[in-house]
């Protein structure tokens, strides 16, 4: 068995995982004024590895200084203060981090933020029109499609995409095309109800 050598680089890599905690730049308030960056420490630290990246998130310009290794998920949560997108597994297995990039649903945990330049990112914060919930958000509330709510932003982002993709023909279809979103609370039946509702489906075959 191997003992990992504890270099500074290696240690930072493990403990700070993405260096998101170190690499905060206070551009957030300007870029996304409706969502204050409550988690941002006051003093930005610029490491030599950092590069300047401009993202388009929910229709707003979001300039960031990040290391190339920072995931889109960490950039959104730790830097932009957009904490609606959740981190479950950080490995593509749970779907809690689901966002849309150029209109397609993806796992933000497996996406490098630096690769999203010139692409349009939509998060759960970008779905509602002001105080009016997106129909899928409203359906999740109406159908009680959650318990703890941790998986819910990812479920909703997936559900919105699924309907745009045209994959909500039956309950069986909805379940299959929602398979990338795990719910530890097991709210699946109500999630299917909510998606079916929005899709205008009436199939109750619980496939």
């Amino acid at each position: 068995m191997r003992t990992p050598s504890l270099t500074r680089r290696g240690l930072l890599g493990r403990s700070a995982a993405t260096a998101g905690g170190l690499a905060v730049v206070p551009l957030v308030a300007r870029a996304a004024p409706e969502i204050p960056a409550t988690t941002a420490p006051p003093n930005p630290v610029r490491t030599p590895e950092m590069v300047d990246v401009v993202l388009q998130v929910n229709g707003k310009r979001l300039p960031l200084a990040i290391e190339p290794r920072v995931s889109l998920l960490d950039a959104l949560r730790e830097q932009a203060g957009l904490t609606g997108t959740k981190k479950g597994c950080d490995r593509g297995s749970c779907g809690a981090c689901t966002v849309h990039v150029d209109g397609r649903r993806v796992n933000a945990c497996l996406t490098l933020a630096i690769r999203c330049q010139n692409k349009a990112v939509t998060t759960i914060e970008g779905l509602a029109a002001g105080d009016t919930l997106h129909p899928m958000q409203a359906a999740f509330v109406a159908h009680d499609a959650f318990q703890c709510g941790y998986c819910t932003p990812g479920q909703i982002m997936s559900a919105v995409a699924l309907i745009e993709e045209g994959h909500a023909h039956s309950d069986g279809d909805i379940r299959e095309w929602m398979a990338g979103n795990i719910c530890r609370c097991g709210a699946y039946n109500h999630i299917v109800d909510a998606v079916r509702d929005v899709a205008g489906q009436t199939d109750t075959g619980r496939g």
């Binding site: 068995m1 191997r2 590895e49 397609r104 796992n107 497996l110 996406t111 994959h167 095309w177």
Partner: protein
């Protein structure tokens, strides 16, 4: 994750020149590489992004299907000609990963995804594939998901791809591009290597060499084809055992058969003996059972994965029935 620098070359030759040096890694969809980097299994000093390269096309011609190496799993699965003339490919893709991952992951990356052996992905353990010569804890440890065919005393890890199983059944050829614009073609069946005593060498790819396209010859068998995946949960799970079956039937007689299986081999596993046993026979349970009995030939099961010997045969018979029907 270890820190790395990032390069986004504008064309293939710049990418190949950059990636030929040690410590460099291409990134396509990133779905496997990101995970491996987070787990410190891969520690590249530089990432070479393939995003600007033009290999995203899907071309269905009269003689072949040409899949650009950067075409996504979603786009290939949704292509009407793929579903019509190569259903085994569409079915294998739709049985893979999740919709989100399929939107990201690419054809080339899928061929090069690394094993899901838990020891390989956990740097707290020895693993000959990750650290040559360190040992293989799987052979006498957790091996339920690992291979019964093609293993060695050094490694019994399964190749996890569904797509590669479908493609190897259809005699797919990979187009590769290397330094100085040199190109070559390699049959997918010859692309992955058996572990032997060098399980860390997984393919014939040279440093910096790029997969540019995957070419699948059209055939009557490809048109009558299907993929069956048996797994621990109904969706979003790797295969315990899977079967890619393509049949050309003349009346009820099997003129040609292409068979490959997943979840059982250390590489996508083609089964020529089973194909031979099917050819010329009347399609039906008698021929299917007789041919499937040859599927586990040469199997060396470990303690936990011995069930795959029987599961392999049953999966194959069911897939043959479905495709022949």
């Amino acid at each position: 994750m270890q820190s790395f620098s990032y390069l986004r070359p504008a064309d293939a030759d710049a990418a190949i020149a950059a990636a030929a040096q040690p410590g460099k890694k291409y990134i396509a969809g990133g779905t496997d590489l990101m995970q491996l980097m987070k787990d410190d299994v891969e520690r590249p000093a530089q990432i070479v992004d393939l995003d600007a390269l033009p290999y995203t096309k899907i071309e269905a011609g009269p003689d072949a299907l040409r899949l650009g190496a950067l075409a996504t799993m979603s786009d290939v699965a949704a292509h009407p000609e793929v579903a019509r003339k190569y259903p085994v490919i569409a079915q294998a893709l739709l049985a893979s990963a999740s919709p989100q991952l399929r939107n990201m992951a690419t054809m080339g990356g899928n061929m090069l995804q690394r094993t899901r052996c838990g020891y390989f992905r956990d740097t707290g353990f020895a693993c000959n594939k990750r650290e040559p010569g360190s040992g293989c804890p799987a052979i006498h440890g957790q091996n339920r998901l690992l291979a019964i065919l093609g293993g060695s005393g050094h490694c019994i890890a399964t190749h996890p791809s569904d797509l590669a199983v479908a493609l190897v059944a259809l005699d797919t050829v990979l187009e590769l591009r290397g330094a100085n614009g040199a190109t070559r073609q390699v049959a997918l069946g010859d692309f992955h290597k058996l572990p032997g005593d060098t399980p860390h060498i997984e393919t014939v790819l040279q440093p910096g060499e790029l997969i540019t396209a995957l070419v699948v010859p059209a055939s009557a068998a490809a048109r009558r084809s299907g993929y069956l995946k048996v797994r621990d949960r109904a969706s979003f799970e790797f295969a315990l055992v899977s079967a890619a079956v393509a049949l050309d039937l003349d009346g009820g007689v099997i003129r040609d058969a292409r068979i490959a299986m997943g979840g059982v081999g250390t590489k996508p596993w083609r089964l020529p003996a089973v194909e031979g046993a099917l050819r010329g026979h009347q399609a039906g349970d008698v021929a299917f059972a007789a041919a499937a009995a040859q599927a586990p030939e040469g199997a060396m099961p470990a303690v936990q994965n011995a069930f795959k010997v029987k599961l392999m045969q049953k999966t194959l018979v069911r897939a043959l029935r479905t495709v022949a029907a």
